[in-house]
Amino acid sequence: MLALVVDDSRAMRAILSRVLGGLGYETVQAGDGQAALDVLAAGPLPDVALVDWNMPVMDGLAFVTAVRDNPAWRSITLMMVTTESEQSQIVRALAAGAHEYLIKPFTPEAIAEKLELLGVLPLGAAS
C-alpha cells in the first residue's frame, strides 16, 4: 500500500514515513498542500494520506477540501495529523472530508490503531 505524508517539516515527514514503513507502507512525501496535489496529479494515487494542518503555501484543510472536490481522488483515505487539538478544528476537518484525526504528539501505536480502524492497514501489519 502507498501512503502520502504531507508536512512542512522534513523531520516530521521522516518520522511519519518511518512509522508507516514499519507498518508495511511505501511512502511518498510532500512539503505542503499544493505539492501534495502535484504528487496526486502525477500519480500513482496513494491509499492513504497523512496531512498536517498548518503549512505554508496551502494548508492541510485546503488540501483535504481540494481532494474531496475531485471525484478521481475519492478513494484516498485522509487522516489529519496535527497539533490543532480543539474540538471545533476537528469538526472542521471531518466536515471537509478527513476520515480521521490524530493529534501531535502521537505514538506509532496510535497511528496503527487509526489506520486499522479505517481499514487501510497493510496485510500482516500488527497494530
Binding site: 512542512d8 517539516s9 522534513r10 523531520a11 505554508p56 490543532e84 501531535k104
Partner: protein, 173 residues
C-alpha cells in the same frame, strides 16, 4: 486573560515535553531534570507563539550539539549528513509539538504560529518578565531549557494565517 499559570505549571509542561520527545525521538531517549542552566556558547532557540485570549510563547533552547543530535535521530541520518536547515527544521518541529501541547490546555480558541528558530549565544529565556513555567533539562548530557512565557499580543497580525516556516529573524511575538 490572566491565565494558564494554573493550567500550565512545570508538571504539565514536563508531561508535554515527554510526549513530544517520545513522538520525535522515542520513549527510551527522554530528557531528564537537570541543574539550572546558565551556560553560554553555541545555542539554538526555537519558539512558537500562542495567540488568542492569552498571548505567549513556548521556547525550546538547547546547545547546537543537542540540536544536531536530535536532528540526526529524527531524520535517521548521521550528523555529517545534515545541514543547518535540517537542524532548524527539526528543532522547530519539536517546539511546534510542545507548543501544540501547551495550546491544548487553553480553555478557549487560540492559534499557534509556525516556529521560528535562531542561533543564540546561550540560554536567554531568563529575561522573560512573565515567565509561566520553565524546565531545566539534560538530554544526552547536554542542557535543554523549555519555557512558557506571557507576551504582548502581536501587532497587526492576521489571526490564523501561518507564514512560511522561518529559520531566523524576528521573534514570534
Amino acid at each position: 486573560m490572566s491565565l494558564p499559570v494554573a493550567l500550565v505549571g512545570e508538571p504539565e509542561l514536563a508531561s508535554i515535553v515527554d510526549a513530544a520527545w517520545t513522538c520525535a525521538l522515542g520513549v527510551d531517549d527522554l530528557p531528564r531534570q537537570g541543574p539550572p542552566v546558565t551556560g553560554a556558547g553555541e545555542w539554538l532557540r526555537a519558539g512558537v507563539g500562542i495567540h488568542g485570549a492569552w498571548d505567549g510563547v513556548v521556547t525550546l533552547e538547547c546547545t547546537r550539539t543537542a540540536a544536531v543530535g536530535a536532528t540526526s535521530s529524527m531524520l535517521a541520518l548521521s550528523p555529517e549528513a545534515i545541514c543547518d536547515a535540517d537542524v532548524h527544521d527539526a528543532l522547530g518541529e519539536l517546539a511546534n509539538v510542545v507548543g501544540g501541547g501547551v495550546k491544548s490546555l487553553m480553555p478557549e480558541h487560540h492559534r499557534l504560529t509556525l516556529p521560528v528558530v535562531e542561533p543564540t549565544t546561550g540560554v536567554s529565556t531568563t529575561s522573560y518578565d512573565d515567565l509561566v513555567a520553565r524546565l531545566d533539562l539534560t538530554w544526552r548530557g547536554e542542557p535543554v531549557v523549555v519555557t512558557v512565557a506571557r507576551t504582548s499580543p502581536p501587532a497587526g497580525s492576521e489571526p490564523g494565517r501561518p507564514t512560511a516556516r522561518r529559520t531566523a529573524g524576528e521573534p514570534v511575538s
